[in-house]
Structures are given as structure tokens and as C-alpha cells.
Symmetry: D2
């Protein structure tokens, strides 16, 4: 850390701060600048020492130097992590596609959806059985019944089932039916849930929180990794900004940024990221173009009949056409897609 | 809802949309404008009908008319809800103060802090036993041991204990020791947790999520109210914006705004709202001035020694001085404070 | 507009509001809902009538129906506007590329840069002569001397010169040397400047403001169009959000969104949009993939020597490689690029 | 500056960077940490050197240490700047109030408004003659005719006239009639305008840009100060965030924050800061409570008839009542108000 002293700090103040730095087990180097003095504090800085030093009134600011995550870091593991489950491959130059309805609504719906998205090229099936809904008056999902239908759709198609788990008590139940456990954006910092999915051996699809920084996102992944589960898929699903013409703001630069910081694969969810069906296809293509390792897309046999998220859901035809365009771009850039 | 048709929609398209509106159990009124046609859809609109109508390509947009929350609404209950627990009174013209350290660290620390904040005028004691931390490598709290120390501090001082519960499984345990259950900002949309605290009969202090809209905040409260627990205290604790000079951006206008929408009391947390100890006192005074029903403030016997949040924590002296200023303003405005 | 009355409004209040609506020259339709009454106000709504109606205490809210811009709207002109100046073609299925250094620094620098970006495929040359700088102590540009060097570089290479004009008094001067007038993000709502560039017959490259909504962006374009200048190129250059890992947040969904609202072409500036050189190439490729009509990229013969924006500037080699990747994607999607 | 090298940098890379730091005229101190090496670069860092160093690929990041503004800094001038013009006093423990309509609309309107706000306690009269409007189709102000009416209102009441100037060419004209020149939020980074008002000897009321950081705000003031005009009043008027229930988000913590960084006085504009008339009174009181040196408030003899901003405008009675409450708080806190 770099401790920046306030202008006009006396030698005594600097000396006292050096002692405090050393009391924290760090080595202190004093650098006297033209306008102010800074103290470089060398050593492990990831455990609250910054806040402790910031609390002194003679300190202007404390600048961290190390990234706060370790296991997720590209500095820890250079080769990209590839997640493989059934025929779904995410990462390592292969763009894996997960698609399906927002919610499981009936056996007919989920089976039909599974066949349609598989035909278009998807290898994972999404579908919510437990639905986090902003309002207590909205449809909350079919719960275990929905999980069973997802499993049936997997049996029929071979698609890997990706579905959300909302609370630690449900992890065992959901893990019984699912191939990939999804942690939703609202739960990105639900640490007990992160630990609980970290204790399973299923891959985890972790959605970025609506206002999570990259560091917070990677530290949430770190909670899962820290339990010994190395199969984490990061999912950029858009953030909240002042923009209201789209449901969320989809910052695709986080894809190459994350690739420069972590070995974990990154998928994009343009359905939530835009909230508008007509914007989903171009954002799918752009995601592939900037290096996303996968896509997760809402597709419903009849979007108008969807019980949730209808306005951002693609029809099977629009989805197939979108994947065809994505495939062309992937090929042009030397990537593979099913 | 108002369904705005795209420019150039034909009469047939309008007629078909009228049928869809009516199929949803709503009454349709067609209004032909100078540039486009709108359909007013009258009836209950809180259950996903908007999304269903938005999914049609001839629809430009769908504008909701009703607020999505009901029980929390001032339209449902005109008189303000006052939360009383031990000597802590929040609302109804009385400004209640909750204070204490970020984390419970030891018996001596929490007892001393309790005595100090009580002497300054606080009637509630805050202190984290279960701590949600961004990094898995940070101090995670003393857990049940911390709860016992909080209860001991209550026995010694009579202060009401306000402490965070992070996951549904812990609700029973925390409720055994606490007087008020706190739901943190990261968990504002942890719906299973909201339902679990709603099933207790303890007051709930619900912190606003970092990027939660007012509607989402009130709908989170609605999850608690919907379980039959009417004692919800809303807490504005700052939101995430582009500003980085403060830890969060504290939008105090949410206090009078919420007072115009809901009967629930509103408290402000200027410690997290600013993240800088020297900004906490003026923001406490401003909170009282704009009508906050209470304050929740981080105070530690020795902020430099705090294991978490030291840089935003007041010393007992600074806290006492702050409350003295708040009291002057409260008196000037006809409010009461202990 | 839709005037939503507060719950509990009496018939008299509704009647009085109907009279006010009609006094504004609008036709009123009253619709009595299950929970509240709304008044549809039909007619021209673009001139402050909304604010007038919102100021009454019995009004809950006023919802506009019409987009506030007209000339820029796709409803006014269906065929896309294509901007052609020298060999630079922007729009109509052709991806035009503008590149060059942040600032003009010397004759040798700008000539070399021009040759290098032309060789890579650019057909427009960017380079600031008048530089808007956050600090009065930063390099402010070479001014008219810089314009002359840009003109010389055009004479040598045939590239179209795109350069910023900061204030109405300079429009004539800059227009004397430039082929395209750039209005910077900080000046997007500098209305006198918009009118002044609107009075010229040069194409205008209008950058989106750092926190401008889509409507504000299109209304800024409307100021230019309203003066009779139809050659406006919209430029998405990133917005300010809570994200700090990139300099700005680049919301590429604005490209297809704008294509659905306006006939004006849209280019993307990934250099400012990310602020990090290593993120520029993937964002260029993604921009082409989601339908951008052009790119504007910072390229310097030696980025480390750049007097401004060095950290987001590509080397000529990296730029050439980036355009090669863009070209592959453009071809795959049926678009053309030089 | 602190140059943080990437992990794994070799001694040669560090040595080469040291040479580059020294080539910039800075002194280099190398500090070898447990995980990475940093180079402290001591000396003047305010002129683009940071960007130059950031452009090297072996550099992880460059952390600035000095604030980029000088003349505005409290480190340069410890005693608060007090702006006095006619009977309006802003700063030094006195809360000055500026009020009036959004736009000058007629002689009768502005005269009546002036008398009303003066009676309530205002000592400055606001009123737009040149109006920056988002849409070219909105009322753009009465221009010079409006300035004359403002001057007449000043002659009748003695109030100091505060009015906006939008472009450098108008500075002389506006300065002929006004007592204080206002630079609007949209023009906060219109550097030619800042320099032009800096060349006058009138006080300048500088509004914060909608997404301006504190550093950018103070650097904009620095542009004015740098021309020799020391009379700058900073105005917090709200920022753009994801919040939509208010027109803007009003972050009052910027008031005490600025007081810790600069000697310039800070006023608050709760009318624009909230956009909702009923929220203006509590935000006025809160502004005084957190130490604002003044208020600027929209007041119209009949808000429903206002040609602009009606929904955020107070009636004269509501304004008088608001100031009465503010005065009570000011007195309680030892401040003075007219």
C-alpha cells in the first residue's frame, strides 16, 4: 500500500505513521516528495490494513497495490479454465451456448424449447424453477416440479441443464437435478450461497451483480473457488446506469478485461443485458466478436405467452438466425461454435 | 397500463391488440392521437401483463400506471408506522438513534461502546456478529459468540440490539439474541431471507440495495410485510454512482420521497453513505433536517483499532458532539430526540 | 400524454384537469380505472406542456407518448443517411474508419500517422488541434497551426480530416481546414455550437455526452439538423457509470438501438470508450459485429511519446491488425470495409 | 506518482522504467514488494506524465498522489472565500439565498417574483434570459429583452441579479446587466466560456456538471480562477445516477467534502437537484444543515403558468415557509441568514 500523508505533515507525524505501518507487519519506505510525503508499506495488504491506516487524520489517502483476489487471478493460473459438462463446452476457443425460457412453465413448453434451442446449436438448457422476482405478487416459479421437468428435457435432448439456486437450503435439491448451478445477479454477494455452491462439485454460473465492480465480481468467484470448486463461469449480464432506454447497460469491454485478469471463462447474457428482444441478436454477435466464451439467451416457443421476461425473449426462429450470424463471426475469428 | 402502438399501425393491428388486452382480463379504451394510437388497459396490472404486451412487435412501449407495491403504500395506511423496541422509538416525530461498532470484536469493546453511545443519546446498539465481507480473506465476524456479547451489552445498558442476519438458516439464532433484525444492502433482494425475517415478530431494519430503485426497495419491504410482519424500518445507506470521492453517494431526497409514498419509517446510515468519518457528522445533521426518523452510525471506542470500517467510524466524542448538533436541529424543527 | 391522477381524486378534480388539458390545445379522454383515473391528452406534446400539467398537486405523474425529436427520427425518413466525404463512406452497409493521434503534435507526427492509418485501411484522419482538457495546466493543442498540419496531411494522403471545434467563434476557422467538424462529448449540449456547425455544410461528427440519454443525444443532433445540415454522424464514445476499471463504460447496445430510432449513421469510439489500449481491438471488432457504421480510433506512431491519451492509443501495427480482424467480421456479415 | 509494475517484471524492465521516469524530470525510488515492484516518481505530476507512463505494457497502473487543482485548493488559501455582491453574502458563516423563476417571462412576472422572493429573505434574483434547452422546440428565453427586465427588477428591489451566460460571445452583453454570471451544468466543461467569464470581474456561479467528478468540478473552477477572477461560487445541483424517481440525484455530502478541499463557497440547488417541488423544502433545510453557504431556488408567482420547470418550482408561500424553516436550523447551528 501507499500511504499518502496530508500536506504539511511534520516529521513526527510521518515517523508515528511509519511505526503504525510496521506494527501491522509491513515494511515502510518513506519517500519525501515535492509537495507531500508518502510511505510505501510493503507486504500482505489484503486483510483490512488499508482501512486501519485510513482512519488517521494525518493520512490523505491509502492506495492499494495488489489485486484483492488470488485464486481467480491469471497470475495464479495462466492457462484458461475450460468448463465442460455433457456436450456444453465453455472456453478455450469454443463458444458454448445456453438457451431456453426465462421460467419453466409446463412439460410441453420446456420440452419444445429444449428441442428448438438444441436444433439451433445450443448445448445448454436454461430455465428457472426457482425465480427471484422483484415483486412478491409475480410468478415465483414451479420449484421442484420445474426441476423435474428440466431433468426430463435433458433426458430427451442431452442438453446440460443450467438453473438458478436462490438459497443455501436448496443447493442439495437443485444440484440433484441440474448440471450447472446458476447464482443470480441479486445473489452475487450472498456469501452463504456462494460457499454452499462452492461445496458442490457442479460448475457454477455466477452472474455479475447489477452494480458490482470487477473486483467484487472476482471476489465473489473467489468465495466459490475458496471452497475447492474450480469450475466457475463468470456471466456479464449488464449493469445499472443512468440509461433507461435499455433495461440494463451491457458493458462488453468487461469480457476482454476479465480475460486479462482471470483464467475463468466469461459468458454474456444479452437478454437481461438489454431487456429488448430486437437488441439481443446484435449483442450476441458482438459478444462473440469481443471474445466471449459463451452466450446465455432467453428463448421461448412463443414469447408472447411467456409468464416472465417476454419482451426480451427471442422466438426459436430469431434465435436460430442469431446463432447462424454468431457462427459466421466465430469462424472468421478462428473460434469454434456448435 | 397504456399500450403505445408504433406509428403507422393499421386498424387491424390495433384491433388485434385490443383483443389481447381483453384476453388478459383488462378493459381496453382506444385513443387515436395525432401521431399514434394508444390503448388504455384498465384493471389489475401488477402480474406480468406489461411484459406480455411489450413482446408484440407493433407495440412501441407499455407504460404502467399503478405503483407495484400495496401494503407498504401510504394509500393503504395513512398514519405513519412507529417502531418501538425497548427505549428505541423510530418515527412519529421522534428521531431514534442506533450506534455502535461495525463488528463485535470483544466483550470489553462492545460493552464500552454500548455505554459510550448510550451516554451520547443512542437507544439502539448496532454491531455485526455475522459480517458480509466482499473478500473471503477479510474478518467474517464472531458469529454466535458475538451475538452473546451483544445480548450482554443490552443487559448492561438497556439498549435495543440491532444486528444483521445473512441467511435464512440463521434467522432463528439471531432472533434469539437480537431486538431488531437487520437485512443488509447486499441482501435486499434475497427473497428467502426477506420471507424468513417476515415470519418473525421482530422489527426488521431493511437496508436499501446499492443500486435499488425506490420501487424495488418498497417491494423488498413488501416481501416482509406480506408475511404479516408490519414492523419494517427502511434504511437509506447510499447508492453506487460514478462518484468515487465518497464510498457511496447518499441521496437524502429519498427520505422525503419515501415519506410521500409509504407509512414505514426511514432511517439514514451516513457512515456507509459516505465512507469518510469527517463527512458523517454533517450528513447526520442533514438527515435529521430533511425528516429522517432515525440514524444508524458507526462508533468505536478507538476507530484506529477497528477490525473493519475504521475509516468511516466516529470516536465516542465526535459522536456525542454530532448528536448534540442533531438535537439542536430537531428541536428547531419541532422533533424530539433522546 | 397520459395524465395519471392521484388515487382518491374527486370527479371535480378530474373535471378541472380536463379543462386545463383542453386549455393547452389538447383533446382530453377520461379513463376511469380500478384504482385511479387517467386522462389521455391527445395532440402536440413537445413544448413544455408536460411540465405544466405535472405542477398540479392532484397529478401523480404525466407520461409522454411521443419521442421528442422529429427530423432525426426514422419515422420521418426511412432510408439510412450515408455520409460521404472524399473516400470516407459512413453508413449504408459500409464501415468507414477514422483514425489518428489524439492531438496534432508536429508535422512529422501527423504526416507519419496519416500514412500509417491510411495503409491500414482508414479513410478519415482524426487529430485534435483545439483540445478540450480537464485541467488548464494540460496541453491545449496547436490550434490553427495544428489545423494547417492536418490539411497538409490530407493533401499528402487524401484522407478526410475530422477535427474538433470547441466554440462557435472557431467554426469558420476550423471549417476552412476540416472535412468533418467534430463536436466533443463535453459540448454535446452546447447549443450555440450545435447551431453554428448546423449552419455550415460540412458533415458533423457528434459525440454522445458522458451522461446523455438517447433522447438528449438525438435532440442534440436535432439542433444541427434543424439548421438545415442533414449530415450528422452520431458517435457512441462511452458513458460514465460506477465502473472504474475502464475509463468509461461503452454500451454498444446503443448502436442497434439508434438504428431502430434514427436514420443517422452511428460510429463507435472504443479508444475513449475503454481508455485502455489493450481493450480497443476487441471493442472495435464488437462494434462492427453489432452494426456500427464506422469506427474512430486513436493511433499514434509512438504511443509512449503521445502528449495526450497515450494509454488508450494503438500503435500502427496493432491498429492494422485490428482492422484486419474487423474486416473479416464485416465480410462474414455482408458488410464492406476499405 | 506511483508506478506499479506488473507481476513478474524483470530487473531490466524496472530499470528501463526508472530511466523513463527520470527522463520526465521526476526522481525515481524503487520499492521491491512481496508480490510486485513499485516505482515512486517524485516531482510535478500534473501535466500528462501519468498517461505517458501508463502506456507501457509492463506497467500495471499509475497512481497519482497530488490533487490536480492548485488555486482552488484549501492548501493554497486557508481562509474561506466569501462572495459579496449588493446585499447578497455567500459564505463565511452566512447563508445567502438566490431565488426566482426558471425563465424571465414578462415584466410583470419578474417584478412580482423579485418582490416575493425578497420579502421571504432572498438577496439574489435568479431568472433565465438565455435558456439552454434540451429540445430545439422548447422556449429558448427572452434573451436581451429578458436581461433588461432582470435589471429593472434589480432596480426596483435591490436584489443581485444571477443569470446564465451560454456562450463566450454573450459574456459582455450578459455582464452588462448581471451581478453574477451563471455557468450552467451543461457548460461546466465549456472551457472557452470558463475563460471568458474568468476575464470579467463579476462573481461566477459555476454549476456542477451532471456527471462531473469533484476533481473535474474543481478544475473547471480552476479555469476561471486561472484568469485572475477569484470570485467563484460552486453550485451542487445534482448528478445523474440510475435513480429515476427524482430528476437528478442530489449528493449533499459534496458540500462538506468541498469544504475540506477548497476555500470556495458552495451553494445547493435543490430545485434541479430533485425536480419535484414537494422535495425542495426538505432538501433546502438539509443543505443548510450540512453547511451549504447558500441556496438557489426556483420560485414563480404561479408555478402552473411557468413556461419551464413548473413541476419543480415553489410558490411564493411555500418558499417563504421553507426559508423560515431554514432560518431556524441556521440559528440552531450558529449560522446567519437574512
Amino acid at each position: 500500500m501507499i500511504v499518502v500523508m496530508k500536506k504539511g505533515s511534520t516529521q513526527e507525524m510521518v515517523q508515528r505513521m511509519v511505526e503504525r505501518v510496521e506494527a501491522l507487519g509491513l515494511k515502510a519506505h518513506v519517500i519525501v516528495g515535492t509537495e507531500r510525503t508518502v510511505i510505501a508499506a510493503v507486504g500482505e495488504e489484503r486483510d483490512g490494513k488499508k482501512e486501519s491506516l485510513e482512519s488517521y487524520s494525518e493520512v490523505e489517502s491509502v492506495l492499494p497495490i495488489l489485486a484483492p483476489y488470488k485464486v481467480a487471478s491469471l497470475e495464479t493460473k495462466r492457462e484458461p479454465t475450460v468448463v465442460r459438462v455433457r456436450d456444453l463446452v465453455i472456453g478455450g476457443g469454443h463458444v458454448g451456448v445456453i438457451a431456453g425460457p426465462c421460467s419453466v412453465e409446463s412439460e410441453a413448453q420446456i420440452l419444445l424449447a429444449a428441442e428448438q434451442v438444441k436444433a439451433a446449436g445450443a448445448r445448454g438448457l436454461r430455465g428457472g424453477a426457482f425465480k427471484p422476482r422483484t415483486s412478491p405478487y409475480s410468478f415465483q416459479g414451479m420449484k421442484e416440479e420445474g426441476l423435474k421437468l428440466l431433468a426430463a428435457a435433458r433426458d430427451a435432448t442431452g442438453l446440460a441443464v443450467v438453473t438458478e439456486v436462490m438459497t443455501p437450503q436448496h443447493v442439495e435439491l437443485v444440484a440433484h437435478y441440474a448440471d450447472v448451478l446458476q447464482v443470480g445477479a441479486r445473489n452475487m454477494q450472498n456469501y452463504h450461497l456462494l460457499q454452499a455452491v462452492g461445496e458442490t462439485r457442479l460448475p457454477v454460473l455466477l452472474k455479475r451483480g447489477l452494480s458490482a465492480s470487477m473486483e467484487e465480481f472476482l471476489l465473489a468467484a473467489e468465495y466459490v473457488l475458496d471452497q475447492g470448486n474450480q469450475q466457475v463461469i463468470l456471466c456479464e449480464r449488464g449493469v445499472r446506469s443512468f440509461e433507461t432506454h435499455t433495461r440494463f447497460t451491457l458493458p462488453l469491454a468487461s469480457v476482454p478485461y476479465l480475460h486479462q485478469k482471470t483464467h475463468l471463462p466469461v459468458v454474456v447474457d444479452p437478454s437481461h443485458g438489454t431487456g429488448i428482444a430486437s437488441l439481443v441478436p446484435p449483442m450476441c454477435v458482438a459478444s462473440v466478436a469481443c471474445g466471449a466464451d459463451g452466450l446465455i439467451v432467453e428463448v421461448h416457443p412463443d414469447p408472447h405467452e411467456a409468464l416472465s421476461d417476454g419482451s426480451q425473449t427471442l422466438s426459436p426462429d430469431a434465435f436460430a438466425e442469431t446463432l447462424a450470424r454468431c457462427r459466421k463471426v466465430a469462424t472468421a475469428l478462428g473460434l469454434t461454435m456448435d
